[in-house]
Amino acid sequence: MVEMIKEGKIGMLEAYALVTVIIITKVFYTFPLASIKQTGTAAWYSTLISCACAIAFFVLVYLLLKRFPQKDLYQVFEAVLGQKIGRFLVLVFSVYFLYYAGINLSEFVNILKIYCMPLTPQEVLVAGFLIVTAAMAYVGLEGISRVAYILFYLIIAGLVLILLLAIPFYDFHYLKPWFGYGLGVTVKEGILRTSSYDTVIILAIIANSLQGLKNLKRVGLACLLTAGAVFSICLACVLAAFQYTAGGEYISGMNHLSRIIYYSRFFQRVEAIFVFVWVFASVIAVSATFYIALSSYCRVFNITNHRPLLMPFLFLTFAFSSLPKNMAEIIDIYVRFIRGYSLFLIVLAPVLVLLIAMLMGKRGGKASETQ
């Protein structure tokens, strides 16, 4: 039996808010830039292709969990692949989420420096951020999800406000040509960028904290649909405001969108106020992935208390966030891996496990036998 941290129970709406925020946070970073650069004017619906693929993948994960009732994804890995390989896979997931947290942090801090606080040393920003991350992870999943639920409304309100206030700058003719760089490129990039949605896997990892598989499926689908809609609308607005030429140049399309808001001499340059929205979303995304990395590691080595490991993991996150030398490196190497190729790990691993389980005819028993 795998020793586990007591993660408590989280409600459906809390889980929905948590995972949705983790997925959509990237829209505040370089996501619009990369999408527009790769698919041009088709970026806004290319992400819907990614969303459709992510939904298909999530259904497969759901089928896998359905074969093993009362088990979460990590327990299924062990049940299908055996303890050693299963735990190795969990360890790989742990490293991936830690990497994800570190690179997200680095991306956020760099954007913050570019747009808001150019004179503040990066280390100070990272340190401040990590202190809050540590506090969130110290409290655990229940606390993080509750914070996510409360701040979710503010994040969505902020996002909607930016999109609405920038209406005078939209010209939807900029969305033409409709097929961007060609349908083939759009579909190919759309499938590859399924990785942007792959953090929905967190739901499968915390499946035991949710209230049943049915709820998990509902929450997962709702998260993916919301994220797809948010990405698509935001990309369309960025394209409509800046055209694909400039849209593919601005490091953070959404930040830039908030910067151009102008209604009078009194109401202008209000982008600083939206720092609250960026920070709320980023803190939740980084803390949640950091915590998942930590709890995954604890699962591998049967550690029942994650708190003593906070400091070493914070140090590792700091190390990951310090890997990129500059913004260009973050976009071209690190983020490209997360949002372009991580599907080969996060998406394909559970699918392979499902195939193996089906081929070998493995199924989970009742709750009492499996727990």
């Binding site: 409600g11 709406l13 809390e14 913050l112 808001c116 606080m117 503040t120 100070v124 920003l125 401040g128 951020f129 202190i131 809050v132 506090a135 969130m136 409290v139 606390g143 509750r146 914070v147 639920y149 409360i150 701040l151 001499r265 009194f266 202008q268 340059r269 209000v270 600083a272 106020i273 720092v275 609250f276 920070v279 709320f280 803190v283």
Partner: protein, 611 residues
Amino acid sequence: MSGKKNKNIIWRMLELITYKKTNRPKTFVLPEVDEQRPNQQQVSGQQQPPEGGQPSQGQDQRAAQPEDTSQTSEAQQPKQAPAVVVERAGQKRRIPKKPLSASEVRSARKDKDQVKTDVDSNLQVLKQAFHAPENKDLIIREFSLSNKKRGFLAFLDGMTDKNIINEYILKPLLDQENASNSEYKVGMPLEDIVLTDDTQALKTFGEVINNILKGNTAVYVEGLDYILICETIGYEKRGVEAPKTEIVVKGPQEAFSENLRTNITLLRRIIRNKDLVTEFFELGEKSNTTCAIVYLQGLVNPLILKEVKRRLKNIKTDFVVSIGMLEELIEDNPFSLFPTILSTERPDRTAANILEGRVAIILDGNPIVLIVPITLNALMHSAEDASLKWHNTTALRMVRFCAFAIAILLPGFYLALTTFHHEMIPTELLIAIARAKENVPFPTIIEVLLMELGFELIREAGIRIPGIVGNTLGIIGALILGEAAVTANIVSPVLIIIVALTGLSNFALPNYSLAFGIRILRFAFIFAGAILGFFGLALAAVLLTLMLVNLKSFGIPFMSIIAPRTKRGKDIVIRWPLWLQENRPDYLSPRDRQRQPEIARQWTQQNPENS
């Protein structure tokens, strides 16, 4: 030369970290209580408990201690069984005493605590317990009945109603006509002679002493194996007055007083329900303060009730005299800046909370009542909310929530704005701020801290100075200080507005403890804004949210309704009309969730006679 000098330096440094015996004169150190006892005994001579009497707690401890401490120190002596010291021919000899078993100790204690059948023994125990005759508060009135039986009554002066004692206890006991009456014979129960409304026959001194301490009178007649307690409580107390901190325009003008009984009566007058239950607890081993919990049986969640009782029963401290102390002893998160227990001085508000399934905790001697469990929104409600029309209440609550945000954020926000994000400030305003700040030599953070400190000083001084002078001092102090600070170019005028607005918002918060917590939190936000701008403020806001979602009030999450999400009530931020509030708060899980039927105004379904 230099080597010698170096050696001296090294030697001096070594001296700093090495132990050296000093020849300083000994200073006075107050000895610990345990160290004092043997000496005191030597001085005052050993006091034996009276025969059949109950020794005081201190004496019990003394008896359990080895008495010979003059020869060897405690540290040198190995632990051994209690011993008696016998002195023979000037030589002290230690005779080991066989230790008593637990059951023997228990039965011995029980015997000592039992009421005896003779007057002298009982009198002696009571006198000793109350340290009479040194303690002049204990009044003992001895008497002889017509059948020559001796008796006494004992009470504490000032705690009792002497009229009751004279007219309804002493008079019937000593009435000669009664004595000659054939119906009144020796065997007649004492309860039937005294005329007080409540009597109790108690057989242990512990209970008797507790009752005397409460203001009751103990009556004993020779031959009985019990002491009769007659209710004679009648000390001086403040009457029911108008509320001082929770003033309302529309609504009752009564507040709790220091008297426990009066407070319970005030509640009973509002909730005339047979299910309203009051339970008593004694708190504080030395103060024996009476604490009551009041709840509605059949409505309150039994688990919450059990938890309240568990916490109150398991307080081990010597005294609890203020409601603040009790609050600190029973709350879930004593380190939290936010209160997790609601305090109120209004009986109507307490009653409303009891009727929602909460528990009220009343401490004798305190005009404030605690209500548990609560959530954050309860702290944002005021006593007047129920008396006003629903839209007025809702508007007021919106103002309060704005005040909450301003009180926490405004100074930090101003700092972040002027230090990090100037671009957001409209140009004209920016120029005005810059012009006003031109002559001020301090950075903005120092200005803010100076003004906040000044404001806190005025507030504190205003509270300490009594009456109208305090208020005047507050206004004059603020005006003069602000004006002078601006004229002297110590702070900019904009900052005066910021600090004043923050102070006003703080006062607009309906809960005193919440407002206090926010005063402290504000400084954290000031530093966060000064160091990291909006980024710092956002991080601090996340931490505050995290802190709030992790608070609990008697097991109920403090942010219930929002996180964890529970069924929405109709009296959270928006107070919907009363006739729409069909259910009690979901997070309390009351046993009866429904407050009223779906159609509370049933007259709307009827046809009026003159239609």
